[in-house]
């Protein structure tokens, strides 16, 4: 966990993902505000557009990366026992990866 450039890389991931998450929130907020009637049909229609599928997937990808950097930071601050930390971080990676796969399946399922 001490690779070259590791610190600045994670820091950069955190900033860039934060910017994308903020922009995406504005984008999806615009959809909700500009659509007069929001029901399952309009929502489904919006999500099934290819561009939105890409943007949504990217959103969840950056969100998971952002979550990873943040949770890892918290664990490194507070969990000093190496064995427990290793188990915790592995479990968190597993959980985040599972969520990523699940999200791919969901977005894939929208036609």
């Amino acid at each position: 966990m001490n690779g070259r450039g590791d610190g600045i890389r994670n820091w950069l991931i955190q900033r860039i993902s934060a910017i994308y998450i903020a922009l995406f929130t504005i984008y999806i907020g615009y959809f909700f505000l500009s659509t007069e009637l929001i029901n399952y049909q309009t929502w489904y229609g919006w999500v099934s557009q290819t561009i939105n599928k890409i943007l949504i997937s990217l959103f969840f990808f950056t969100l998971l990366m952002h979550a990873w950097v943040g949770i890892r930071d918290v664990v490194m601050d507070y969990v000093h026992n190496i064995t427990i930390r290793f188990i915790l971080l592995t479990a968190i990676i597993g959980l985040l990866a599972a969520m990523a796969i699940w999200l791919i399946l969901i977005v894939q399922g929208v036609r």
Partner: protein
């Protein structure tokens, strides 16, 4: 004015406790004056102090929950009862005296001196006034430790995180045009701990009695790293 001070003598006390004193104060009385008065009444009371005018950085203590120098803090402006404790996050030796060994180890680790690769010239290394201006807000640090002692990231990892004081000094030399150690300085700070335990909590700039801003200095180091990366 009612002042309660932290007392702990590991040789005689099982537990630390707070002891209260009533001290006569004027609008000009500094916390240090009150502590001296307490020492007058109870000579076993121990605290560090020296110059008495905010220059030496010896009497960094925790006053009503935030770190500061006893000698430049007017006691009349504080909320009563005033609570004086040792700086948090550092091992307590006795009463208000903390062990700052680790703090100075972190300071030494950033190599707080000019690194030259070129042969050192016979005459002094010149600086333009603009180059010199870059060191303002950096060189004034008196190493009191108020900032690192108020930083949660330093509390949790004092052995691995350099802390705001040392990082401010690291930037002080990175920003110096006479220094040629940029690369080795940045390499040394790489990894998740030494620099990147800073989560921009900003307690450091809040408490610095010299009005310095370690958070900003840390930001500059990160920017420089980024520049060197791309």
């Amino acid at each position: 004015m009612r002042i309660s001070v932290y007392r702990y003598n590991p040789e005689t006390d099982a537990e630390p406790y707070m002891e209260t004193f009533d001290i006569e104060v004027s609008s000009e009385t500094m916390v240090r004056d009150a502590l001296l008065e307490i020492k007058e009444r109870d000579p076993t009371f121990t605290f560090r102090h020296s110059c008495g005018e905010g220059v030496c950085g010896s009497d960094a203590i925790n006053i009503n929950g935030s770190n500061g120098l006893g000698c430049v803090t007017k006691i009349a402006e504080l909320k009563e009862p005033v609570e004086i404790r040792p700086m948090p996050g550092m091992p307590i030796i006795r009463d208000l005296v903390v062990d700052m060994t680790q703090f100075f180890q972190q300071y030494r680790a950033v190599k707080p001196y000019i690194i030259r690769k070129d042969p050192v010239p016979e005459v002094e290394l010149k600086q333009t006034p603009e180059e010199r201006d870059k060191l303002d807000g950096l060189y004034e640090c008196i190493l009191c430790g108020c900032c690192s002692g108020s930083c949660p990231s330093y509390w949790w990892n004092p052995d691995k995180f350099r802390g705001p004081a040392a990082l401010l000094q690291s930037w002080r030399f990175l920003a110096d045009n006479r220094d040629q150690g940029t690369e080795e300085r940045l390499d040394e700070l790489d990894g998740p701990y030494k620099l990147f335990r800073c989560h921009t909590i900003m307690n450091c700039m809040d408490v610095c009695p010299k009005g310095l801003n370690p958070t900003k200095a840390i930001g500059h180091i990160k920017q420089l790293m980024l520049k060197n990366m791309v």
